[in-house]
């Protein structure tokens, strides 16, 4: 049974392609000790403190954006919120990655990104232990920013995870609405702001022929 909307399917496919690119990038970089993260099953990786109902979530996030309530889910959700901050901590109230459901995309088992979440968490927690002596998802916002920058400085390949968040967010309807991107349209030809009109805006050097360069 397919319960995904068309839009969800399309976003899934987008992540599929780009995370395939990212995965190949990682493989092309060859084995590195730091990339030895567990890419296996994380479903049993439940954080006991998270079940403390009523208390503020230990990640500080109002929502995990569809990531599972596990340690690896917390790592991905807090990474997403570090890359594109959510409305909960944006003074302007503008939506961010968790509001757009970007974390969920990392846990879609149909996507190659799902195989990378353990690795991403390992990298993030590695730098987080240096920065704050605890897991990435338990750091303060400022510490997370320091840790992510440290990860990117040491391992430029980690950029792929940031890239996935950017793609996931800016491809989302949430971001499109926020930025005023209308998408499908009947054409702008008759929009009074469409062009600068009939006069040349720069010197043409092929004038007199046909637009081709001789």
């Amino acid at each position: 049974m397919n319960t995904l909307s068309k839009q969800q399917r399309e976003r899934r496919r987008l992540l599929q392609v780009f995370s395939a690119l990212a995965a190949q990038f990682v493989q092309a970089c060859g084995p590195r000790a730091v990339l030895s993260g567990d890419a296996g099953d994380h479903d049993g990786d439940v954080d006991a403190s998270a079940s403390d109902s009523g208390a503020r979530h230990p990640t500080g996030l109002p929502t995990l954006g569809g990531a599972p309530d596990t340690l690896v889910g917390h790592a991905i959700a807090t990474l997403c919120d570090t890359v594109i901050p959510g409305a909960h901590r944006d003074p302007t109230g503008a939506p961010g990655a968790v509001d757009a459901g970007v974390p969920a995309l990392f846990f879609d088992r149909a996507l190659p990104a799902a195989a990378l979440v353990g690795l991403i968490r390992t990298v993030l927690d590695g730098v987080a232990s240096e920065v704050g002596g605890r897991a990435f998802s338990r750091l303060t916002v400022e510490q997370r920013e320091t840790a992510l920058q440290m990860a990117l400085d040491r391992l430029p390949e980690a950029e792929f995870a940031v890239q996935l968040v950017r793609l996931g967010y800016y491809a989302s309807p949430v971001a499109a609405r926020h930025l005023g991107y209308p998408g499908p349209n009947p054409g702008y030809r008759d929009d009074p702001d469409f062009s600068f009109g009939p006069d040349p805006l720069a010197r043409e050097i092929t004038t007199g022929t046909d637009g081709n360069f001789p």
Partner: protein, 490 residues
């Protein structure tokens, strides 16, 4: 059961396949069969969609083992459906380009004069016209103003669009029927003349069978074979060399070592810029409004530095935001994530964003090979001359940036240059001498009687302009040489 027997098999339905199919059928060849891997989408089946799910339904995103993605056509009509419609003749400088040994890349019979009648023929077929300034969207207008501030020239493009509505979804296939694709031009003529286009036919190998050629393909899971007197390989810039390499591995003798080498993405490099505050009436400029190719081209640096530059329109947030990288330019975000980045994107999209694409006479720095499953792969052949091309390009663009105030965002690291390129040339290049290329000056594969190849992969070298018109004109000339052998003397 004997193989199906026809007169001509054309493998692929893009410019390099459909044009020969049309002319052979119109010349009276009775059984012309075009085998297309993809499906046929009529205009009503196209969508205004930025989603990759849709985009990968109209173009094939070939991801190489080195993490580079190239776009090729995958529908009946090939790249004519999904690519934008800039249709330039190749300048003399491109035809005359020579290699390090002083030899012309193009065979001697290819000159602007000799190609003129063929260019004219395809320009008429595609309804190519020179756009007036009033049809240039502001995305192009801002580009022209930027160049004017840098005292550089800028010309209007030639496009195969009718009365374009300027919706900005050209690369997704025009839903408004305004782009004169192969489905609007050659394909109906070919079908009227009796040519048959079959979809979902994935050609795996070709082999010689006495005086005939046998083409082996999969239609779904079913393996089929078809025999023909004459075969055109027209799978495009990546799939054509891959098919020849697969065929060679399966025993086709006589193909030389140039197959797959010299692959050239036409010096294509895409990047973005950000207009300075107060540049013009920025609030009334929207980077997503208007056709993908914003209708202009500058030749200003073509003679001095080998590249042309054109603007991009129809820019959606994803492609822009994903391209931003950390920068030391004070006008750009220091890092491409976090609150500062988020604020910055909001401040520039959609009123200050510009897109650019360069094309140029750059050397090959890749080759096409095949993966173990026989699908095409693209591997690096690093070349210092290509790096120098990028150096010149970057230096000039930075000059424009300083003169105009437009901040340039380096699109991708240089090692990715050409990523997602759609100009896939030269992997089976045409050559004057058998020892230098794959195809002879008449479009026949060297040493392979009645095996023709006149698609993007036969173009010998980078062009510095969009290649569609030239691929088409070369295809017209090659098939003319078959139908009217006397034309070979010209």
């Amino acid at each position: 059961m004997p193989n199906e027997r026809v007169d001509a098999v054309i493998i692929g339905s893009g410019y390099g396949g459909t044009i020969p199919a049309t002319r052979l059928a119109e010349a009276g060849m009775r059984r012309v069969v075009v085998l297309e891997r993809g499906v046929r989408k009529e205009t009503r089946e196209l969508e205004q969609s930025d989603a990759l799910a849709y985009q990968t339904a109209v173009v094939d995103l070939v991801v190489s083992s080195q993490n580079i993605a190239f776009r090729t056509g995958k529908l009946v009509g090939g790249a004519s459906i999904a690519m934008d419609g800039a249709m330039f003749r190749v300048p003399r400088r491109s035809f005359e380009r020579r290699d390090g040994a002083g030899r012309r890349h193009w065979p001697e019979r290819y000159t602007p004069e000799a190609m003129a009648p063929y260019y004219q023929r395809v320009e008429e077929m595609f309804g190519v016209r020179h756009f007036p300034w009033s049809e240039i969207p502001k995305a192009g207008g801002m580009f022209a103003k930027m160049l004017a501030r840098a005292d550089a020239s800028c010309d209007r493009a030639r496009m195969n669009y009718g009365d374009c509505l300027q919706c900005g979804f050209c690369a997704q296939g025009c839903i408004y029927n305004k782009k004169h694709t192969l489905l609007h031009t050659y394909i109906p003529r070919a079908e009227r003349a009796g040519a048959v286009f079959r979809t979902g036919c994935d050609v795996r190998t070709i082999e010689r069978s006495g005086a005939l050629w046998t083409v082996r393909y999969l239609e779904g899971a079913e393996a089929k074979a078809i025999d023909a007197d004459i075969v055109f390989v027209a799978g495009g810039g990546l799939h054509t060399p891959a098919l020849l390499l697969r065929s060679r591995a399966a025993g086709l003798a006589g193909l030389n070592a140039h197959v797959g080498e010299h692959f050239n993405h036409n010096g294509e490099l895409q990047f973005f810029g950000v207009l300075p505050e107060g540049f013009d009436d920025l609030d009334r400029y929207k980077c997503y409004a208007g056709m993908d190719n914003a209708g202009l081209m500058t030749w200003h640096w073509f003679e001095s530095d080998d590249f042309t530059l054109h603007p991009g329109g129809g820019i959606e947030p994803t492609v822009f935001a994903a391209a931003v990288q950390s920068s030391t330019d004070a006008r750009l975000p220091r890092k491409a994530w976090g609150m500062e980045f988020k604020r910055w994107v909001e401040s520039v999209y959609p009123h200050r964003v510009m897109g650019f694409s360069s094309l140029g006479l750059a050397d090959s720095h890749h080759a096409v090979t095949i993966k173990p499953d026989g699908s095409p792969d693209v591997v690096s052949r690093p070349r210092e001359s290509y790096d120098r091309y990028l150096d010149r390009l970057e230096a000039r663009v930075q000059e424009v940036s300083r003169a105009s105030g437009v901040a340039i965002i380096p699109g991708y690291p240089r090692r990715y240059s050409g990523m997602t390129s759609a100009h896939l040339l030269a992997a089976c290049r045409m050559s004057e001498r058998a020892e230098d290329g794959v195809v002879d000056p008449f479009g026949q594969v060297w040493g392979q009687r009645n095996l023709y190849l006149c698609d993007a992969s036969a173009i010998p070298y980078a062009l510095g302009v969009n290649p569609a018109l030239t691929i088409s004109a070369v295809a017209e000339r090659v098939v003319d040489g078959i139908i009217n052998p006397a034309s070979r003397m010209s």
